[in-house]
Amino acid sequence: MKALVWHGKEDIRCDTVTDPEIQDPRDAIIKVTSCAICGSDLHLFHNFIPGMLPGDIMGHETMGEVVEVGSGVDGKLKKGDRIVVPFTIICGECDQCKRGNFSVCETTNRKRQLGDKVFGHTTAGLFGYTHLTGGYPGGQAEYLRVPFADATHIKVPDGIPDEQLLFLSDIFPTGWQAAVHCDIEPTDTVAIWGCGPVGQMTIRSAILLGANQVIAIDCIPERLSMAEAGGATTINFETESVLERLDHLTDGRGPEKCIDATGMESHVMASQPDTLLDRAKQMVMLESDRPHVLREMIYVCRPGGIISVAGVYSGFSDKIPMGAFMNKGLTMRTGQTHVNRWTDDLLRRIEQGEIDPSFVITHTVPLERGPEMYQVFRDKRDSCVKVVLKP
């Protein structure tokens, strides 16, 4: 089959690889009908997340049709079922899964020794991601083996196009979780850093959850225009002062809730000197992340407020203003998304026409063109916001 394969930094190729096979009774194989490129994939493209190996198949936003099931799938899935695959692989049985903490499932990381060593405790296995989370082959491919398939799936009905359902795999529940983590109250101002696909979903979620005011921050005009369409007041951090605008929009109080939808690769620019220093340290491996957004959020957040981090961080961040964080009494909530915790509700919202996540798609191309689309998405060329690939 064809698959997008990681060969090294900035080197992803569309290779011919052997087809996946059932390895365990709980496996299923799907024929992929749609998959997408995520901001997390860009961190891997840049080799900023340790633990990738040449030959790894990329992709964790995937849906398709079940073509084969193992003997242990127990009637929970059958040939012909249409499913969206959550990016977190879950067993459904361990203590964390029972609590709904799916992204920290204790069973599915097949390289758990690595996870235990690096993070202190293993987290769930993830598709198309580092070997710290199992190194499972990803879904930017024609076929995908879904391990623990009896639990790791979201069944979706026929009659709704792929484009509306695909993002149940990751970015829609990710934006939703980021907003839910804020315990939004009707008087709240929610400020969101980053208007990429995750930021866009976060904006819609905060609106649906009844925030009084949503403010979105980025520097890409087309992304800001999309944020505004979704109900956000926008700030362009390249041409305006984030601090001044936030102060003005909240009468000097600061936003009650701040969400990081940017992650470890914050924009580097001279007017934000800390980002230059971070980039320099990152190059010589003195720091793994560029946490400018974390610093800014802690500084502007209203005392007693909540900071919700959806953006991915991989290792060590320097100069986090713990003094401000502690003295202002802030709360931080984070995590890879517990996808299946939210998807029943979100699927219902899509079915009822409350939201249509396909608004974010700007490019749909054949899988073979995947490698070049990594560059287009990364460079924000051609007004790109979200890329969907069709095998």
């Binding site: 394969v5 060969h7 930094k9 900035e10 080197d11 992803i12 190729r13 569309c14 290779d15 011919t16 690889v17 052997t18 996946p20 390895q23 840049h46 040449p54 030959g55 790894d56 198949i57 190194g135 082959p137 491919a141 315990d183 939004i184 109250e185 009707p186 866009q200 819609r204 609106i207 649906l208 959850l209 009844g210 005009p221 087309e222 225009s225 999309m226 505004e228 369409a229 979704g230 109900g231 390249e238 980039r279 190059m283 010589v284 026409g353 409350e354 939201i355 249509d356 996540p357 608004f359 974010v360 073979e368 490698p371 070049e372 560059q375 460079d379 924000k380 060329r381 007004s383 916001v385």
Partner: protein, 182 residues
Amino acid sequence: MFHFGNIVRTKGDPKIVDSGTSLARPEDRLARALGWFSIGLGLAELFAPRRVTETLGMEGHETLVRAFGAREIISGIMSLSVDKNAGLWARVGGDGLDAAALISALTPDNPKKGNVALALLMIGGIAMLDYRAAQETKPKRPSPKARRRLYPDRSGFPKGLAAVKDRARQLTNGQARTGAPS
């Protein structure tokens, strides 16, 4: 064909049969080569500055050579990173400094002035490569003035933004009235 990735595959996972074309352009390969060259030269200058100064008749300038070595290593690391363009421009600047230092050593009384002239020639050649690589790896990000498609009609709410806001307000007011936690 041999694929390194296949050796490290977990048993049962798909293996590469045939590899597609790489995104790397010739200029990216040139940048890589220059990056490694820079690091190699930098290490030599940092750890064996005497060898360098003796060859060039510049005895006594070891500290300068060491500093240049550190500079080479830094620009080398940058040239190998995703910000290779910045690294390559740093190399172009560095070539200028190298040339200036060599020219200052090109005095009639330097017994090694032949070596110095040769080194200058080499620097010239490498500077040309550095400059070419820097020109060709310019980031392709759209300029602030580029024509853009904007998306003012992509709310994502089939019933419209106003309807969604109304509904959310009703729901949250309802919560406030019944005293349910928000």
